[in-house]
């Protein structure tokens, strides 16, 4: 396999935002249909802005690094801005991923989207 970039290894070595958020505003829970990995992403939202994000991941080096990166990217972003974060953007922020590992960044994107959807669902419920 192609080697990981320095940035990926750095995030793998020191992953940011590992853990769970108590009483999160949104939780994303996704599984990777390709290799069978699992990612959980928690967000805290205030005034339509994501103020905190944490993750737990069962997966390869790329999966851990992309989870770490996506939680970094999303902090301080509005919901709309966060929804616009693509897996490519995450991979690019990590200095690229080996082609066979791109699907791990897709998982990170999906985890984020599903956490935001969860948040929007909950919001709707509290409004009605």
């Amino acid at each position: 396999m192609e080697a990981y970039s320095e940035k990926v290894m750095e995030h793998f070595r020191n992953p940011r935002n590992v853990g769970e958020i108590e009483n999160p505003d949104g939780i994303g829970h996704v599984g990777n249909p390709l290799c069978g990995d699992i990612m959980e992403l928690y967000i805290k939202v205030e005034d339509n802005t994501i103020v905190d994000a944490k993750f737990k991941t069962f997966g390869c080096g790329a999966a851990i690094a992309t989870s770490s990166m996506v939680t970094e990217l999303v902090k301080g972003k509005s919901i709309d801005e966060a929804l616009a974060i693509s897996n490519k953007a995450v991979a690019e922020a990590l200095g690229g991923l080996p082609p066979i590992k791109m699907h791990c960044s897709v998982l990170a994107e999906q985890a984020l989207k599903s956490a935001i959807e969860d948040y929007i669902e909950k919001e709707k419920k509290t409004l009605t």
Binding site: Y4, F12, L34, C35, I38, K56, F58, G59, A63
Partner: protein, 401 residues
Amino acid sequence: MNIIFLDYASTTPTDPEVVKVMLPYFTERFGNPSSIYSLGQEARAAIEGTRGKIAVALGAKSKEIIFTSGGTEGNNFAIKGVAYANEHKGNHIITSSVEHHAVIEPCKFLEKKGFDLTYLPVDKDGLVNPDDVRKAITKKTILISIMHANNEVGTIEPIKEIGRIAREHNVYFHTDSVQSFGHIPVDVNDLNVDLLSVSAHKLYGPKGIGALYIRKGTKVIPFMHGGDQERKRRASTENVPGIIGFGKAVEIASTYMNEEAKMLTTLRDKLVKGIFAKIDHIRLNGHPTQRLPNNVNFAFEFVEGESMLLSLDMEGIAASTGSACSSSSLEPSHVLLALGLPHEIAHGSLRFTFGRYTKNEDIDYVLEVLPKIVEKLRSMSPLYKKKNKVTNFSSKSAKEN
């Protein structure tokens, strides 16, 4: 950083003694063994001498040894060679579900060409049941191919018994001996085999050279067509330096095999015991005792293998995994699945294989580093609900008091 290499099943460093005997055959004694002048004949004599050595190590005759480019070639040669030479007798081949890709892929290729394949299951320890072999044999069976020792989990198969069954039924029997030769006794008559593949770089010889034993009288079509080399069964100018190096490697392995196996078994059992003592939610893969002296394979629940490998690499340890994430197909190891491991547990597998240069301290180091790595990755895993939270907490507070 010093690398602690614990992946000897993948390859071994070439023994300096081996390199030394090879060198003259690149420069001074570079003759082509097919040439009639003395430079050529000198090379011819050297490779024939080596053929004799390898034959003795296998309990075979010189004429039954064909040099190949390695284990993959030996397996391809044996399986396709026997299949196509005996097509008129039948089209059924029996193999197991835990073979190396170099056996499985030629089998799948033959399946596409109209051969009928049976892939026998294994038990939870990776053993093929000889009774299953007996039951699978039909009038059309022309070949049985079962590996001697498994490259991933180290299980040693009951080759002698399977060989006896094959002989009773007059079916050719091939074994892939790449992981066992040079490490445990391999004798073609004792094992009742007709074909047996070996490779030099798994026993401190050079890469790119191996051999296939073909019992006298076995019908096999040539692997390569061309010149008259290797009794016309494998054309191509001989890899003279490789062959010479292979011979030396076999000589060294034969001398030290028993001593080495004893040393490796001690290290193996120490690592197994240590891991069981320090880490919970784990499973030893492969047979507990009927396994290669140098193989340790564990599955660690709730963690993924590639991330363990990367973490070990950062600590200077080289190992291997059967995780889906580290394979190009994104499929977990077929061997671990055949043992009955669920996908997510196969995910967390780690293989350590030791060798001649492994030291007791290396095992201590692994036992110091590995529990921390597993702990760190588990703390990041959504699957890990800390079952021992309470006990951990109380033991910690007890210490603090």
